[in-house]
Amino acid sequence: MRGVHGRWLHVRLPGAAAEFIPLAPETLAETIGGGGLAGRILLDLCPPGADPLGPDNPLVLASSPFAGTGITTASKIAVAARSPQTGMIGDSLSSSWLALALKGSGADAIAITGRCGEWSVLVIDRGAARLEPGCDLLGLDPAETSAALRSRLGNGFRVAAIGVAGERGVRYAAIANDGRLAGRTGTGAVMGSKRLKAIAIRGDALPPVADRAGLAAAARGLTRRSLGPETAKYRELGTAANLAFFNRIGILPSRNFADGSFSGAEAISGERLFADRHAARHACAACTIGCEHHYRFRAASGHDAAVRLEYETLFALGSLCGVDDPDAILRAAAACDRFGMDAISAGGTIAWAMECRQRGVDLTPFGGPAPDFGDAAAMLALLEEIGERRALGALLGEGSRVAAETVGQGSGAWAMHVKGLELPGYHPRKLRAMALGLAVAARGACHNRSSAYEADLSDALSPAAAADAVAAAAIAAEDQAALLDSLTLCKFLRHAFDDLPGEAAVLYRLVTGLDVSRDDLLRAAAGAVLDRRRFNQRMGWTRDLDTLPPRLLDGDPLDPATLDLLVAAYYRGRGIPETGIA
């Protein structure tokens, strides 16, 4: 099999003893690569009941056959571990040059187990692992950490780093690389629990592909299509374009999902931000779309600054918290990047605290008073407290599920999470397939693992569709996301394909030489979804976890019985028993 190394690297801490483990071609074909491969390695390596913040929890970073081949957007790493936020599978992807260094390291994936005695940096130099001291890097943000390490080690190294949030165990801390975050489910806290401030990788041993000329031609064609109208939204305005439209159709979560529209939406719309504040547009490593838009804001210091802003950050730190001040939202986005933490969970947990105040639940005994909805200054102060895990931030750094369990007083009723992961920016009231997708997603409420909103926001699904049709749409969306995550292709590229699995199979054959069909890839994608569910079962999943927060099941229009029918239809569609996979 070409396009891969056929082995992964197991690094055992504290000594950084490293061993290459062979990867059978069947395993690679079954999992495709990327998210599928990371999930399989995690499934094989993580013992049942492993403490997410303990030494036994593996931290897996995987590349894919497509990475480093010139296929646009494919330079992504997939990260997997047992999530300290959900207790279930934690997995995340981010695009960066690190993916190319990882692919060039001589291994298709790296899995780290154990824990360092002192804060350290794991250096993997062309496949050889060693530890370097990391204490001097504590307190630095991810960008500063990366710059310091590249200065120390040399420019050939690419760095994944955690910020202060990861050092201090914020359960939704992220792993940052090249300014992008593997953000959801707290893999940064797992890295911090291993006392790894950073992972620096250098490698240039890219494996040869099966058909270089054929692949180059196919990759050029895909690049051309990546510049077409199907991706114009992302290239021109970025994901912030969602906000005004979502507000118009009533699916913009605001004030902790109490509403689906926001009176301040115009002030923070993507179109308005672009007109007033656009500073620059960037692309991830090896990407021709270039969806990353940066916006100007006035920093607390009084200086002008600019920060990357995505829709999910915009909604979570904006409408969800009732904040309509663009400067405050951009400062908050910068704070999340600086501390290295997931903006969706940070905003979702703060919104829970704001609702506590609204409902008269006093959080002062838990570290400090909660702010009112719309109090931008207090939101910014809370983000600092969360990042440093002090005052009320110590509680909110646990996420909304644990915070609500700690506080009690009925506050679980407005903790907007699934399996402990805060909901993304799609109000599911009007989105039946998305509601189901969020309920059953293995990593919790996630728009990237279940992009079922696509069925709702199209003519593919009638509002009167039966439960089995809704389930089929949710399954198809979940499988498509798993396919893209395993190929490590950007989801923004999906509409550039006429037949994603069919065309991806052609690319896969050109890269690997394996005679893989579109159906083979679809089976592998579905297998990756089932691997995640198997992992969750091992960690204590029960059917009642495949649900939505009570607020969304109040009969307007979803109620518990209706969701139950949808979830049952999902299991039928997947061909798995309700009690779990045998």
Partner: protein, 128 residues
């Protein structure tokens, strides 16, 4: 005028950034509203989002009994959409864009329009 990146249409990207910050771009009052040739009998106002909104403004009044007629009229009254959102030859939406009529997403040119219905124009790539 706000322009698109190369790949969609041929423009100087640096000009785009400069013009994007110019005060002449007013999202609330689209150029089509002040067009010298407003439709004689507008039946609906097309609400634009994302790229269409940056090019044509937030709302464009259009006349037509079907979506095909609305799309053609849209091109007439918001020419900035031609070649980027509306195919000038076909008079219909380019791939990547979709109408929403009274909450239903559609690219059916034959879909009928009744006065007063809500017609939205948005990228078909939902979410992100």
């Amino acid at each position: 005028m706000w322009t698109l990146h190369p790949g969609v249409i041929r423009v100087n990207p640096s000009a785009k950034i400069a013009s994007a910050t110019a005060p002449s771009l007013d999202l609330a009052y689209p150029s089509a509203m002040t067009s010298p040739n407003p439709p004689a009998a507008p039946t609906v106002t097309v609400e634009c989002f994302g790229v269409p909104r940056m090019l044509a403004g937030a709302a464009v009044p259009c006349a037509g009994d079907t979506l095909a007629e609305i799309a053609r009229d849209l091109g007439r009254h918001a020419p900035a959409l031609l070649g980027t959102v509306v195919d000038p030859a076909a008079g219909w939406l380019l791939p990547g864009y979709v109408f929403v009529i009274d909450s239903a997403f559609t690219r059916d040119p034959g879909a009928t329009i009744h006065p007063g219905c809500a017609v939205l124009l948005v990228a078909s790539a939902a979410g992100g």
